[in-house]
Each structure stands twice: as C-alpha cells, then as structure tokens.
Amino acid sequence: MDTMSTDTKQGGAMHWHVRKLLTVIAEAALERKLIEESLALGIGGYTISEVRGGGAHGVRAGEWEGERSIEFKVLCDADAADRLAGAIMERYSRHFALVLYTTDVGVLRSEKFS
C-alpha cells in the first residue's frame, strides 16, 4: 500500500507515494526536544518555521523571546508519525502550549521518508 502511487487516484503522470506529514505547533522552548525525539525515531529530516498564534494558553504574539512559537514538520511513514505523535503527547502535551496534526501527502522519493 505504501508503494501505491496516487496516479491511480488523480490521473497524474508521476509516481507519488503516500506518506504522513506530522505538524507540531509549539512553544519555541520545545525546539531541541522535538528534533531529538525525531532523530531518536530515525526520522530523516525536519523543517521549522516561526509562527505566532493563540489558543487555550492565550495569545502568543511572538513579540519577544519569552513568547516565540514554532511550527515543526516531519515527513515520514504512518508508523513513525504515530510513534512521534505519541511520544510528544505523552511527554509534552500536559505542560506546554502545543497542537499537533497529521496530513496525508504524496512524495516522490519514498526512500527518503520511510
């Protein structure tokens, strides 16, 4: 199923592989931890951007260093996404401003994101 390309689904010419994109929006204080958790699960890469926002923990306007938030994203297979999400929820969701979600995405070089 992993190697099933999306071209059967939408008629395109490229051979897309289904993978998960796990997105974590969290306090900047968690940056190092999130990278370490991903590495520990053998995930091959990550991408971070600076964000601001609001939620149950109030407005985090990102105006000064005490209030920075990041968006942390990893592309991986469903299994690794589940494990990483599980580890993050267990260790950080209680005490940190944090939101996470997964999206189904299509990638081309599946070996990069297994």
């Binding site: 105006e63 000064w64 260093e65 005490g66």
Partner: protein, 312 residues
C-alpha cells in the same frame, strides 16, 4: 523630579499597547537589542575589573553568590507557606525572583548616573554572578532530592551556557582583555549609543508589559501583592548586604535593585525546560506586569533611601 528617558519610553510603549495601537518592534530587533545590551554591560564592567586585585573582590563575589542562593529560598518559603502554591510553581517563581533583570539593572545604572551618585565600576560583574544561582536553586527546590546527577549536569550546562551568562561573562572578559585603551575603537558603538538603544528596548518592554497586565487575572491577588512586597523586602536585604560589604552608596543601591528585580529572560527560558510542570501563566504576568514596572517607576528611590538610611 528628574525624568528618565528610559522610563518615558517604557510608558510610551505601555500606553500604546493599552490604546491597542498597532505599534510593534519586530522580534529580531528585540533579540539583537538584548544581545547588544548584555555585551555592552559586560564590556563596561570588564574594563574596570582588571584594575582590582582578586583579593579585594573574592569576598564580595562570595557574598553576592550567597545572596543569589538565599533569596530564592526565602521566596519559596513565602510562596509555599503563605501562598499555598504547588511545589513546581513556587520553585519556578522563586527562581525568577532569585535571578535578576538585566534591563532593570541598566535602567538603575542610568538612574544613579544622572543623579551623580558614586558607584563601583565593576557592578556588571554582580549581574553575571546573580543570574545563575537563583535559577539553579529554583530547580533544586522543584526537584527536591530526586532528579539524578545526569539531569543536573544538563540543567547546570543550560544555565551557564545560556545567552545572558555567555554574553555578560564574554563581555567582561573582552573588556578586561582590551582595557580602557583597547576598547576605544568600539566605544562609540557600545557606550555612546547605550542609553539610546536602551530606550528602544524599553519601548518594546512597555508593549510586552502592557499585554502581561491583561493576563494578571490568571495569577491572582496573592501573586500581585507578592510582586510588590518581594522587591521591597529583597531590596532591603540587598541594601543591607551592600552596606555590610562596604559598597558605596551607588553600589549598595544597585545591589538592592538586583536583589529586588526578577528575571524575565534567563529564568523563564530555563524553567520551561527544567521545570515544565510550572505554569508560566502564573509567573510571567507578575514578573513583567507588576515587579518590573514597580521597580522602574517607584523602586529606585526607595532602594536608594534604604541605603542612605543604613549608611547614615
């Protein structure tokens, strides 16, 4: 009354935020200004540091570090005993008040300079010395005996390699290495501009404080009172210690200010990582929304009065 530019700019930021203005300073500017201020303070202290023999400074260093260890213990006892806060929250807030606010220090330095009050040139050294102990004691209080040696090394490393300590110590070392002559080519940048750059930083802190004041409800009445009472009490302790140590009027006032001030850069960052179960929604509004403006707007003359009275 002499008006201080730094305070006026702080008020401008505060007013702009309370009026819901769209005024803002981008976060990278905030970060750059804080790097600049820490370096400049370090340099200024370092230049003079080289002149003093270590034998003279050693007892003062020991006394100041001891102060940094005792203050968070006192705060913790009050927060647990009177405020009935949870262990983690009490320890975290104690760490904030045990550590120091670099910007409050900088504002106090211009306050005494403008008034011509004499002071020791190596006072920035005290800032560097007081930054870490409060945080370390706070973590210790949160953990009790538990936690394990390995985690301890991690916390210590994080605090000591934190940007504030690195920049202050780095600035002190570079200042000491360069001396008054070697520092001349960079003096226009680090010294002539210092107070001006500080006003912009204050403007930003006014904006930040304005938002925290709105969040004070979360902290509750006890912590608001705590945010005023603690600087008044700790200021007195600092003034007394400074006098005992034989500091000048200005030096003792600054030590009082340092004791009275609460950290909002190094401490919150360290607490999020080392004591995550402490709620920053309790500590930050009080530190930034109560204690910081209290010291800035009302505290300095009080601490100076303590010293005048004690040294009389």
């Amino acid at each position: 009354m002499t008006l201080d530019p730094v305070i006026l700019f702080f008020l401008l930021g505060l007013v702009a935020r309370l009026l819901k203005s769209d005024l803002r300073l981008p976060e990278p500017i905030y970060e750059a200004l804080s790097v600049y201020l820490l370096l400049a303070l370090g340099l200024k202290g370092g230049i003079e540091l080289a002149r003093y023999p270590l034998s003279q400074l050693a007892p003062q260093i020991a006394a100041v570090v001891a102060l940094g260890c005792v203050l968070p213990l006192l705060a913790f006892m009050v927060l647990r005993g009177v405020g009935r806060l949870q262990r983690a929250d009490a320890a975290s807030i104690a760490a904030h008040y045990g550590s120091v606010s670099v910007v409050t220090f900088a504002a106090a330095m211009t306050w005494i300079e403008v008034r011509g009050i004499p002071s020791e040139a190596y006072l920035p050294l005290f800032v560097a010395l007081l930054e870490a102990p409060g945080i370390i004691v706070g973590v210790l209080l949160a953990r009790g005996a538990s936690g394990g040696a390995t985690r301890w090394v991690g916390v210590l490393r994080e605090v000591v390699t934190g940007k504030s300590v690195i920049l202050l110590i780095g600035g002190l070392a570079i200042g000491a290495a360069l001396g008054p002559t070697g520092v001349k080519p960079i003096a226009p940048w680090f010294f002539d501009l210092f107070k001006g750059a500080l006003t912009l930083f204050m403007l930003e802190l006014g904006l930040v404080t304005g938002r925290q004041i709105g969040a004070l409800r979360t902290s509750g009445a006890f912590l608001v009172v705590f945010g005023v009472a603690t600087p008044l009490a700790f200021g007195l302790i600092g003034a007394a210690l400074g006098t005992l140590m034989g500091l000048s009027a200005g030096g003792a006032t600054i030590l009082a200010v340092l004791a009275a001030s609460a950290s909002y850069i190094a401490a919150p960052a360290a607490m999020r990582v080392a004591v995550p179960e402490a709620n920053p929604g309790l500590s930050l509004p009080v530190v930034l929304g109560v204690t910081f403006p209290f010291n800035l707007l009302l505290g300095f003359p009080v601490y100076h009065a303590y010293v005048t009275w004690l040294q009389a």
